[in-house]
Amino acid sequence: MTTSVAMHMSDGLIDTKTSVIFIGVAVVGVAFAAARARNDLDDRTAPMAGLVAAFVFATQMLNFPVLSGVSGHLLGGALASILVGPWVGALCVSIVLVVQALVFSDGGLTALGANITNMALIGTAAGFLVATALKRFAASKPGLIAVAFVAALVNTVVASLGFVLEYAIGGDPQFLGGVTTTIVGVHVLIGIGEGVITALTVGAVAATRPDLVYLLRGTRRPLELREESPA
């Protein structure tokens, strides 16, 4: 029996006030990301973001083994932000979460704001900031793979800290310590899995279509012509 451990928050974990606050945070964040995404993609925004969102959704269906008998699935925030940039990435992950809540009943309706804040906004932002900060190491292939791993690990752990923040505001204060240890501990494990898959995926894309990797934009040296050396 395989248990999936990566999860969306359900209803009832945080109180109504906190749910409403984070729905507000999510609406503002998604609106901002949507405006900036348009700058990245102009009139290609809708079809490209639509297909990238479908890709993120499909990768979330893909379970990977973390330990024997325990599997996790990708959250995809760091992966999306490294491949298509933080704005399109945050927008796509948000839309995936909305559709999962409405169409697939995955994640509570009242917790949707908090889920978007954690996984689409905080997680993607953290992953991308780490990746950008380490960008100078990303020039070589092993460097890029290492950067993607760290970014995805940080993305997952910081997203779980978002949950801890929400639980501190609107959960039960008595359990904050225990919940923090459990949630962050589990997400470090998930983050390692997320990191390995993200790193290998980014490496595979960079090997065939480096022009598609957002993080690598502007870092590739232009092709240079060399005199053929006499044999």
Partner: protein, 252 residues
């Protein structure tokens, strides 16, 4: 490409619940979930009444309880958490079946369990009676920005295509002897994900060109009809009744 998608949660039908406009049902489901979450956890009777109200909807919409129960298992990870809380919490203890557990932990676990279950039953009811396409139109009628609606439409339209592509790649890996048991064996899977991204992105470029050549200017046409007052009234009957239950539960 425009063929209907078979979909694990939607139950096509022609009941009054199915016929309600999607925007009404979305608002009703969110309002009901908010009422459930706002209810104090020790007002046990209120949660029973919410279940009765939802059951009434299931009778009208002809959704069998077994179908719902099977799909409600999606929140199973949280149920595990609720069974851990009574043991990790401190404070006064009570004996349940001869085991000493924290009273406070038990109540908190109950809170998450009952609200999470009622919440997932509410959203399952929404998903069962409304097709994905209708849900997107509902979002549009609720003034969600056009670009977000368009992205969601395209995502749903191509989800099956991309997911089928992922399934074919998985099948190809398995038929070549791939059997990952541990994380360090995930290399082939990850390269598959990378290929899936490139294929999705390139498909996006093709879809964009196809859309432009058919006159795409940046927004989808809106063919939906606005909901009439009577639809809103009947649709909001459930959250209205839930709000009454909540009001009584909050009464000092």
């Amino acid at each position: 490409m425009s063929a209907g998608h078979s979909h694990p949660l939607h139950r096509p039908g022609d009941t009054p619940v199915h016929r309600l406009p999607a925007q009404v049902k979305i608002v009703a489901a969110i309002a009901t979930a908010l009422c459930v979450v706002s209810t104090p956890r020790d007002q046990y009777w209120a949660f029973g009444l919410y279940l009765v109200l939802l059951s009434a909807i299931w009778v009208v919409a002809r959704i069998p309880p077994g179908w719902l129960a099977k799909r409600a298992l999606i929140e199973a990870p949280f149920v595990v958490l609720t069974f851990v809380l009574p043991f990790i919490a401190g404070g006064p203890e009570v004996h349940v079946l001869g085991v000493a557990v924290s009273e406070h932990g038990l109540l908190t676990g109950w809170n998450i369990l009952v609200k999470g279950t009622l919440g997932v039953l509410t959203s399952l009811t929404l998903a069962a009676t409304t097709s994905p396409g209708e849900l997107i139109v509902g979002l549009q009628r609720l003034r969600v920005p056009t670009m977000v609606v368009t992205i969601a439409t395209l995502m749903l339209r191509y989800l099956e295509v991309i997911a089928a592509e992922a399934r074919r790649m998985r099948l190809a890996r398995i038929s070549r002897g791939h059997d990952p048991r541990f994380l360090w064996q995930a290399g082939a899977t990850a390269r598959g994900v990378g290929t899936l991204f490139i294929r999705s992105y390139e498909r996006g470029e093709r879809v964009h060109l196809a859309m432009v050549s058919r006159g795409w200017v940046g927004a989808m046409p809106d063919h939906s009809t606005p909901a009439r007052g009577i639809a809103w009234l009947s649709g909001l009957a459930l959250p209205g009744l839930a709000a009454v239950v909540l009001g009584v539960a909050l009464w000092p």
